[in-house]
Amino acid sequence: MSHQKPISFRDMAQPGDEPLVTLERDALMPLPAPTAEPLLQAPKAGWAEKYDLSLDGHSDFDFPKPKTAEEEQRLVNGFLSGLQKLFDPQSNWPFVKLLKLSMDYCVHCQTCSEACHVYCGSGRQEVYRPTYRSEVLRRIYQRYFTPSGKLLKSWVGADVELNAKTVRRLLELAYRCNICRRCAQVCPVGIDNALLAREIRKLFSQELGIAPKELLQKGTRQQLQVGSTTGMNPAGFKDTIEFQEELIYEKTGRKIRIPIDKKGADILLIHNAGEFMAWPENPAAFAILFEAAGLNWTLSSESLGYDGVNYGAWFDDVELARIAMRQVSIANQLGVKKIVVGECGHAHKALCVIADRVLPGDLSLPEMPRESCLPLLWQIVQRGAIKFDPARNDFPITLHDPCNIVRLMGIVAPQRNIIKRVCAQPLRELAPQGVNNYCCGGGSGFAIMDTLNFSQWRKSVSSRMKVKQVLDAFADVLDPAAPKYVTAPCSNCKGALRDAIGHYGLWDKYRIMYGGLVDLMVNAMADLPGGFIELNREDL
């Protein structure tokens, strides 16, 4: 099924700077309508000497290549040491069971391949197949840690030589998977190849301190030290809230005092703090809705209490536990009844699901419930305290299902129920939709990774399937006279969509825009002047 040059697992160890794969626009998955997609740009002059681009000519890692044999050996030794720890129940208890099962019992049936939007989007490049990186890892593990592999080597498939090139390419390869886990969903044995990508990321982060700087240094490290991955400290947050109140007044004429640090509130609402910077109308819409619905709610101004993100979910269990522990402790200190997570997919999954078993009993879910905003928003609609006028949202609309909220939490119906009540036109479902959706291409940190030329790869390859789905959904209304709206109740998905819309010229060509769910709700509030969503923005 692949149309590219044959690649083997041994190629991962190939010396030199020549990429294993060279991507070309016209060899990628075709799109169903014309777009303004540019040609893929070659790496800038001088990059190849400084940085390692030997997987596919792209990278998010701007650290220099090892210069000496000693440096290379240190990298290899560190990798082997980390690999051993991945299989140590003390060092890797959170995932060692599923890791081991996934390593030992894959039957190589390749049922997962066609489920992967990266593999399909790339024009079926072998290196992006969900099983490719897993197989490289498996063969290395067999060769260096199992008696049969040590003894029989390629006779039992343990044929990948480990050198600095292999390690470096495997690092890149771990960041060519969105960890959307569509592959795990279709596997007949329950093998989780996406988890294996995450485990490789974890090995690099927890053993070698290597991770994309947007995720580690500017991500979890900054969040734990300053309070937010945006760099916003508590004082900055309070200023932001003042701005939010002004924004609400400007857009609706309503003077709202957004509650901060209200002790004993029913709800602590935690947003992705990136929303305050990139899409301030989204947290503003939450405030408008919650006030109009008469909820007893609050935001927190404590460090980490105003930023629900947890990048540890993508690459580092220790950082994940630290951030979740702090966020839940803040809710406890405020004496709120529950935490509600705003429109941020990975924050949902990290706080409501994964954190469940990395926190002690006092912070268990029944002690401090942590829920999605979506059922609450649906309840607000159902209660009828707010009157919605669907005619305000009279444009073609589709819904992107964020993987973390939908496939990985099973929250499917509330957002659809809401759209049915606040929009005039029937929802145009993407195909496939719901728990079978495709990732936006920005999942697992990709939406915020833009060092070197990584974002070109993301926009061209990992977001490609989403662009195809959106164009298919609007196929009969592509005329730019009518604006069209892609609802994405997740910050990272919005970031990826924003970039994809720009990259493919979907706004200029077809007037396709994107936004959150609460934005739609507030836009439909009958007692507001309207125009909360600006359908003819030029900055899209």
Binding site: P89, I354, R357, V358
Partner: protein, 299 residues
């Protein structure tokens, strides 16, 4: 002691090793630490109205403090459906391996049914049992051989599949093909499977009997396979229980003081040995998580 005695002893040895090694391997997986929650929807034991679209209890408000409706039976029904129809392979595999894989799997399932019928034939007098044994036995061997041989051809002729197929994968398929083909050859010598029944009886009652060489070879291969199988990924049917029920569909949140909470508490006392600068050496998982200001670098 002759070859017949050996065949009786080897039959029991194969059975004991199969059960023993499988149990050991299962116990080793079961003893691994509790995985963190990492589910993928649809989760089959969810409430009936949510199952068709993959919804979960987290679609409701206050789920952490509300009694849940869940159906453990639905979990086993889903696993049984997968085992018997290879549904996911049928729906998602792009290489057309489903009919071959299904044939091979059903060949194995029916082989065990056939063995059961041979055992039953030694202890029960039921009308029609002999005919049923012939039909099931023949179906098992034909399906198994066709499936295994077909998969070998598929894996050797398709470039994508060939890349991922290791020497042990080919060996496993060849072993299975040999086992089924040997059974077929033995059937040509005894269309009623009467000598096969006699051999099973000899193992059951420790009464060595002489059977044709083809029958001995076919059972010898089967017994070798039983000994070999638990050491390989061929026991992925056991793994499925753990991957699905204990990981991908494990949506059970812990309550303070519950058995799960106690297990997590034990695991939080483990000491991670990771060496990155942001991980404090010598601390437990809980201490790492509680550190408000994590270590910036090893001093």
């Amino acid at each position: 002691m002759g070859f017949e005695h050996f065949m009786v002893g080897f039959g029991w040895l194969a059975a004991v090793l199969f059960v023993g090694v499988s149990a050991y391997k299962i116990a080793r997986i079961a003893r691994l630490p509790l995985n963190v929650r990492w589910e993928v929807y649809p989760v089959p034991h969810e409430a009936k109205e949510k199952r068709p679209y993959g919804g979960s209890y987290m679609e409701e408000m206050d789920w952490a403090t509300t009694k849940r409706e869940a159906s453990p039976l639905a979990t086993y029904r889903e696993i049984a459906t997968e085992v018997t129809t290879l549904k996911r392979v049928k729906e998602h595999n792009g290489y057309g391996i489903w009919p071959l894989s299904l044939a091979m799997h059903w060949g194995l399932y029916l082989y065990f049914v056939w063995l059961f019928l041979l055992v039953a034939g030694n202890v029960l007098l039921v009308p029609g049992l002999s005919l049923l044994t012939i039909v099931v036995g023949l179906a098992a061997h034909v399906l198994g051989a066709a499936g295994a041989l077909g998969l070998i051809v598929k894996r050797t002729t398709n470039r994508d599949l060939r890349l991922y197929t290791t020497p042990p994968d080919y060996f496993n398929l060849l072993f299975l093909a040999a086992l089924f083909l040997a059974g077929l050859v033995s059937w040509f010598g005894d269309r009623s499977f009467a000598t096969h029944k006699a051999y099973i009886g000899s193992v059951l009652f420790f009464r060595p009997v002489h059977v044709p060489a083809a029958v001995s070879v076919s059972f010898l291969l089967f017994e070798l396979f039983m000994i070999y199988m638990p050491f390989t990924k061929l026991i992925h049917y056991f793994a499925k229980y753990f991957t699905f029920d204990r990981a991908l569909w494990d949506d059970d949140f812990k309550a303070k003081g519950s058995a799960k909470d106690r297990q997590v508490t034990e695991q939080l006392a483990f000491k991670p040995g990771w060496a990155a600068p942001h991980i404090a050496p010598g601390q437990t998982w809980l201490q790492q998580a509680q550190a408000t200001t994590p270590p910036e670098a090893r001093k």
